[in-house]
């Protein structure tokens, strides 16, 4: 599903954020991307999301070289990817329902299809009763679950999460991870960037460790 082939990313011609990164993530696979702050995790995710282009090498998702996409094609590609942020980044002027419906409206889903999909997504994150609420009245954990519902509502084949548990307590973090595990079991490819060792080591998934822009380790979690 995701393929990095000798990928390097250099900013301003001198600052090397990624260097010779090689890995493959199979469809339906879940992996953690770990490393210290500034190690290059966010750059790697930005490459996958098409927000940056590699300085050299190739980033392929579902067989498509992302460097060949631009404009409308890139926008269409992003509609097939789900994104979860550390800060859920919700639109406070919109209700929970409308926040979750946002990717569907952007993707051009019919108005008859949108309610079904939003209800299903909210049900997956146990927030069916908060559909009409404003994000302002939700707790941090609930807001993060709305963000997850928004990321999965259009049933993406790939889910990318950047520090999704960074602002949550351990109990909520475990709950979010359980949700990701469920999505993975449904066939979604998931890449989670995190620097929380406890989260990574508690789950039996592949772990990509990145340090100073280089992939230094690629193996299974400790408990597997």
């Amino acid at each position: 599903m995701i393929e990095f082939e000798s990928v390097a990313k250099v900013y301003d011609g001198q600052r090397e954020a990624l260097s010779d990164v090689n890995f493959r993530l199979a469809p339906g696979e879940m992996a953690f991307l770990t490393g210290h702050s500034g190690a290059g995790k966010s750059t790697l995710l930005r490459l996958i999301l098409g927000l940056e282009t590699a300085s050299s090498g190739a980033v392929r998702v579902a067989g498509t070289d992302l460097s060949t996409l631009s404009g409308e094609k890139l926008a269409r590609y992003r509609r097939r990817v789900g994104v979860v942020f550390q800060d859920p980044n919700l639109e406070e002027d919109l209700s929970v329902y409308d926040n979750v419906a946002l990717p569907l409206r952007i993707s051009g889903f019919s108005e008859s299809e949108i309610p079904k999909r939003v209800k299903a997504a909210l049900s997956r994150v146990d927030l069916s009763d908060q559909a009409n609420a404003s994000p302002r009245v939700l707790s941090g954990g609930q807001q993060q679950r709305v963000g997850i519902a928004r990321a999965i509502v259009h049933r993406p084949a790939l889910l990318v999460a950047d520090e999704p548990t960074g602002n949550l307590d351990p109990e909520l973090s475990a709950r979010v991870m359980r949700m990701f595990t469920q999505f993975q079991q449904l066939g979604v490819t998931i890449l989670v960037a995190t620097h929380e060792r406890a989260v990574v080591e508690s789950l039996p998934f592949r772990r990509l460790v990145i340090e100073q822009g280089r992939l230094v380790s690629d193996g299974m979690g400790a408990n597997r």
Binding site: A75, R76, R78, L102, R105, I106, E111
Partner: protein, 301 residues
């Protein structure tokens, strides 16, 4: 419902929401642009008024055509006939050199030249009076033809007050066009800066929409609708200001200058100006916002 309609309805809703969120800023901008756009509109109204009030009963244009000394009578008569057949000439008067000397000697301080009678240095001349309705371009054409004519020594041209006034109006028209272009550029810049600031303010939201797969067209649509609304309201404000100023000007002219020309009693508002100002307002707002949003989005991406 059709997806296209839904998308645009949503964009209009977003545009309206942005407008109501920053209502004071929006109203100030509408007023500012309205006043700015009223300047060229009002200038145009004054200009059209001036152009239509060109005096028609003013003194005719005239040219004194000095003929060559040794010109034969037949050649002079032929020239007189050619000139009199032209549609823009009204009267051709032959002034013999003796008569010219006599007339000159009657002028204050020129009596001594009467002594030159035996050795008169003046040539024969023709006084060409142009028709009252003469057009400057055609009169100039006749003058050029005469200057190039072998029979003519030199000439002096005295354009009518009507043509001088028309030239003045034309020059003022060019000045007005220059000022109007500057004003429209000012409007474009104002809209550009406001739209660019809006995009910067919405940076977080735009990044989110981009990540969710929104196309640039989808993202910029609400800004363009907002700019269109701004243009429509600014255009209407400009039309109101122009109409008001025209009413004020008309009443001042009517009360003070109607004795000069009865047409000054009522200068009607020209509908083309209002339509033009409203169209320029919408177009300038749209173009300004489109350029700003595209440039900012490129920078963000």
């Amino acid at each position: 419902m059709n997806r296209w309609i839904l998308d645009h309805t949503q964009a209009i809703h977003d545009a309206w929401k942005r407008t109501s969120d920053r209502l004071t800023q929006f109203i100030v901008l509408v007023c500012l642009l309205g006043i700015l756009l009223a300047i060229p509109g009002w200038l145009a109204q004054i200009w059209i008024g001036m152009a239509s009030l060109v005096p028609e009963d003013a003194v005719q244009s005239e040219a004194i055509v000095f003929l060559k000394q040794d010109l034969e009578v037949e050649a002079r008569i032929d020239l007189e006939r050619t000139l009199s057949e032209m549609p823009d000439t009204d009267q051709i008067i032959f002034v013999p050199r003796s008569a010219a000397l006599e007339q000159l000697s009657k002028q204050d301080g020129l009596e001594p030249i009467a002594d030159l009678k035996a050795n008169n240095p003046l040539p024969d001349a023709l006084r060409v009076k142009f028709s009252v309705q003469g057009v400057e371009a055609r009169e100039n054409q006749i003058i050029e033809t005469l200057v190039a004519d072998r029979r003519v020594l030199s000439l002096r041209y005295y354009p009518s007050t009507r043509i001088q006034y028309a030239s003045l109006v034309e020059m003022l028209g060019f000045l007005g066009i220059g000022l109007s272009v500057l004003t429209v550029i000012g409007v474009l810049m104002a809209v550009f800066l406001v739209a660019a600031a809006d995009v910067v303010d919405d940076r977080r939201r735009i990044e989110l929409y981009t990540l969710l797969g929104a196309s640039r067209r989808f993202i910029r649509r609400p800004y363009l609708y907002r700019a269109t609304l701004l243009g429509v309201l600014a255009g209407l404000s400009a039309c109101l200001v122009i109409t008001f100023l025209n009413e004020v000007l008309s009443s001042v002219l009517a009360s003070n200058l109607k004795a000069l020309d009865t047409r000054l009693e009522n200068i009607p508002m020209d509908g083309r100006i209002l339509i033009g100002v409203a169209s320029i307002a919408v177009l300038a707002s749209w173009v300004g916002a489109e350029r700003a949003v595209n440039r900012r989005l490129r920078a963000l991406h």
